[in-house]
């Protein structure tokens, strides 16, 4: 069983993990203010439940989900809401987004918690609802709502649960620390998930062989259970979900597909611990383990950090030397993104804050030309040709980029890491992906605009024709009238005829009631279209391609707007 497969490519950057593992998981004092971004995961936005000035308790919900892929966020400590506004958030763009700012009162007072010690009594659906309400997003990477991953879908059953304990990124030790320090929580989390999944046939913990102590800790707990611990050689990026699945099972997630297509679910250590806490202890996700490391920090250590803690708070408690810091990274050196400010708060997916010194990660030298040496292709874990992708990215040849499977690139950075010419390959790919997505959306918009323009032209033409016909009719009538008047009836003038025409026009115009009925019909239609579109979006997310997803989300967006419009007009009418 413990046979492993080897992925192609991969790199071995210096690990630098020991620094932060010299001490056990630490705790920091509660910061004065916490900034909680409302949107920390993949999915649509939600409504804010709190108002400025309101006091909140630790663990209190701040938002309500209005859609099935929403996740609520919670207050990480007790205090007062002092702002709900745009604030720098943890995002590579460095842009602002809506956040709730809480001034902590230092009491750290919990709301009422109701844990379910005997979770086996509950049905999976109830447990999943608790997980959703606890705001649990995947803590290993993309931050996808965990409950959705675990939800049963009609045609797919999960027979393998894969636990991602790889932690292949250099520097990061958050999962390692959790496995050593919270082994029991982890095991319980696994049990919960197994229960939700109706007892998958296999439960595998995939772990790199550079964490012997964690392996030992796990082994002592799982000796007799059906959980397999499978260590494999250390290589970046074995922790990528798709890579891990291949390493452990020899199977590949189809391009554009999901692990569920193979009957698998892959969860991160942190996610499992959070699930345990949500179910057994009744605690929503308000804190996570984060590694603070890098030579610009005097202390390197893992902390249990409240979500919303500003990075500056973490750094000041770790003897951060700003002048010696070459860049500030959230996440590891290979996939983490640079932060432009220390005001950014910790979020659910923040597994590491890396503050390297100038000598540790120097400023990049300017890129030289690609000499097609192929080292990047040797390093690529998904067998792409990074140099060709780069070449076509420069040529802006989107067709060729897609033919070279740009969208299968997991942005792991192995190619950039080895490139002797120092080309920021991953940034090129990201930018190209963005442009392709934008082009697809633009295309949809353009088609839509064309239709509307043509429709309008048609409408105008018809109106024109009608008007012409009417004018013709009127002319006939006047002529007849003139003929008639010239002969017999001088009294009945043109004015009469016009008045008659106006009368006709008025009766033709719909009464307010009719209009209202019409609008209501329109609203109904728009709503059903919206539902339809949303259904398609979900389908596309589950088993469609990225392109399909963008298309679907665009149509959802437009359907939603149509509903809004209809509502708006209806309101106008009824007011």
């Amino acid at each position: 069983m413990s046979r492993t497969w080897e992925t192609p490519g991969g790199v071995h950057p210096p690990e630098n993990k020991l620094q932060s593992m010299t001490q056990s998981i630490g705790h920091l004092p509660i910061p004065g203010t916490l900034v909680i971004p409302l949107h920390q995961h993949i999915g649509s936005p939600e409504t804010v439940d709190v108002t400025i000035g309101q006091t909140v308790l630790k663990g209190q919900k701040l938002t309500t989900a209005i859609h099935s892929d929403n996740l609520p966020v919670h207050a990480s400590t007790s205090g007062t809401v002092i702002a709900i506004d745009d604030h720098p958030v943890a995002h590579p763009s460095g842009l602002n987004a809506l956040c709730v700012t809480i001034a902590s009162d230092g009491k750290d007072q919990w709301i009422e918690r109701t844990g379910i010690a005997d979770f086996r009594r509950c049905g999976p659906l109830d447990l999943l609802q608790i997980i959703t309400d606890a705001g649990i997003a995947g803590m290993g990477g993309a931050g996808f709502p965990a409950a959705i991953k675990l939800s049963p879908s009609n045609d797919k059953t999960v027979d393998t649960l894969i636990i991602n304990a790889t932690e292949c990124e250099p520097y990061i030790t958050a999962d390692d620390a959790a496995m050593r320090g919270k082994t029991q929580d982890l095991i319980q989390g696994i049990e919960v998930v197994c229960h939700i999944l109706n007892g998958p046939k296999r439960v595998v913990i995939g772990i790199e062989d550079n964490k012997p102590q964690a392996i030992k800790a796990l082994r002592s707990y799982v000796q007799e259970s059906s959980i397999k611990i499978v260590p494999f050689p250390t290589k970046y990026p074995s922790g990528g979900e798709k890579q891990l699945i291949y390493i452990l099972t020899g199977r590949e997630v189809p391009s554009g597909g999901l692990p569920i297509d193979l009957g698998m679910v892959c969860l991160n250590i942190g996610t499992l611990i959070a699930i345990k806490r949500a179910i057994v202890d009744g605690e929503p996700l308000i804190s996570r383990i984060t590694t603070v490391t890098g030579e610009a920090c005097g202390v390197n250590r893992n902390y249990e950090v409240l979500i919303g803690t500003p990075i500056s708070h973490l750094l000041t408690h770790n003897e951060f030397d700003e002048n010696n810091c070459s860049r500030l990274i959230m996440g590891g050196p290979m996939m983490g993104f640079s932060l432009t400010s220390t005001d950014v708060p910790v979020v659910k997916t923040t597994n590491c804050i890396l503050a390297p010194s100038h000598s540790e990660i120097p400023v990049d030298t300017p890129a030289q030309a690609c000499i097609r040496c192929g080292l990047c292709a040797e390093a690529c874990p998904v067998s792409l040709l990074p140099q060709q992708l780069f070449w076509y990215a420069q040529a802006k040849d989107q067709e060729r980029l897609e033919a070279h499977n740009l969208f299968d690139c997991i942005e792991c950075g192995a190619c950039s890491y080895v490139c002797p010419s120092n080309i920021p390959l991953v940034q090129h790919y990201r930018s190209s992906k963005g442009e392709i997505r934008k082009a697809n959306i633009d295309k949809i918009d353009a088609d839509n605009a064309r239709q509307r323009f043509e429709f309008r032209k048609l409408r105008l033409e018809q109106a024109d024709k009608q008007r012409q016909a009417k004018r013709e009719a009127r002319r006939l009538v006047t002529e007849q009238a003139r003929a008639a008047s010239s002969t017999s009836q001088p009294g009945s003038s043109a004015a009469d005829i016009i008045a008659a025409a106006q009368q006709r026009a008025i009766t033709k115009k719909a009464s307010p009631d009719q209009q209202k009925a019409k609008l209501e019909r329109a609203l109904l239609a728009a709503q059903s279209r919206l539902q339809e579109a949303e259904k398609r979006l979900i389908e596309a997310t589950i088993n469609g391609s990225t392109k399909q997803q963008t298309i679907c989300s665009a149509s959802v967006e437009s359907a939603r707007q149509k509903v809004d419009q209809a509502q708006h007009r209806l309101r106008e009418l009824t007011d």
Partner: protein, 191 residues
């Protein structure tokens, strides 16, 4: 058998129509920006070349030579070519609309491709038999296709190269063709 091989090797590699004999250069330069269109052009040209070689052989042997009208070769052959192109167009459209959609746009261009007239004239002056003529026609087409397709793949690659501005486009294409022709000189003496 060996004779046929010799004819093919000679017309495809050694006396390549485009790179060595300088025939068919306009489509070579004009239709080589995209691999897909190059492939379409190649197929159409090869077909027409082979057919023209056959038809012009017949016209030459059965009409022009017996009547002592050799000076009318040029005009007769160009008429033959136009007819062949027209015929090909009709034939393809009838038999395979799919193929027609791919090749259709290239067909009219072939009438003024000097490789086609070149093959007819060369065959006529070389005193070949029917089989040899057809084979020369096919070989010329295959040689044209070979370099056109490879060249278009190369030009696609050059699309992203950092070429000095005055050399962008036609100039660098010419220089590339020059270097290709340089490489093809390596085939000299093969047969």
């Amino acid at each position: 058998m060996q004779e046929f091989a010799v004819i093919l090797v000679s017309s495809i590699l050694i006396n390549n129509y485009v790179l060595v004999q300088f025939l068919g250069l306009c489509p070579f330069m004009g239709v080589s920006k995209k691999l897909e269109s190059a492939i379409g052009m190649s197929a159409a040209t090869t077909f027409v070349l082979t057919l023209t070689a056959m038809a012009s052989y017949i016209v030459n042997e059965l009409v022009l030579m017996p009547l002592g009208l050799i000076y009318l070769r040029t005009i007769a052959f160009i008429l033959v070519i136009a007819a062949v192109v027209q015929f090909t167009k009709m034939f393809i459209e009838k038999t395979s609309p799919l193929l027609y959609r791919v090749l259709g746009v290239f067909l009219p261009l072939i009438t003024t491709n000097c490789a086609v007239l070149g093959v007819a004239l060369q065959n006529a002056s070389k005193d070949l038999n029917f089989m040899q003529s057809s084979l020369y026609g096919f070989g010329a087409g295959a040689g044209f296709s070979l370099v056109l397709i490879l060249f278009s793949a190369m030009r696609e690659r050059l699309a992203a190269a950092d070429i000095p501005q005055p050399f962008e486009g036609a100039a660098i294409a010419m220089i590339t063709a020059g270097l290709m022709s340089l490489a093809f000189m390596g085939f000299s003496g093969l047969v």
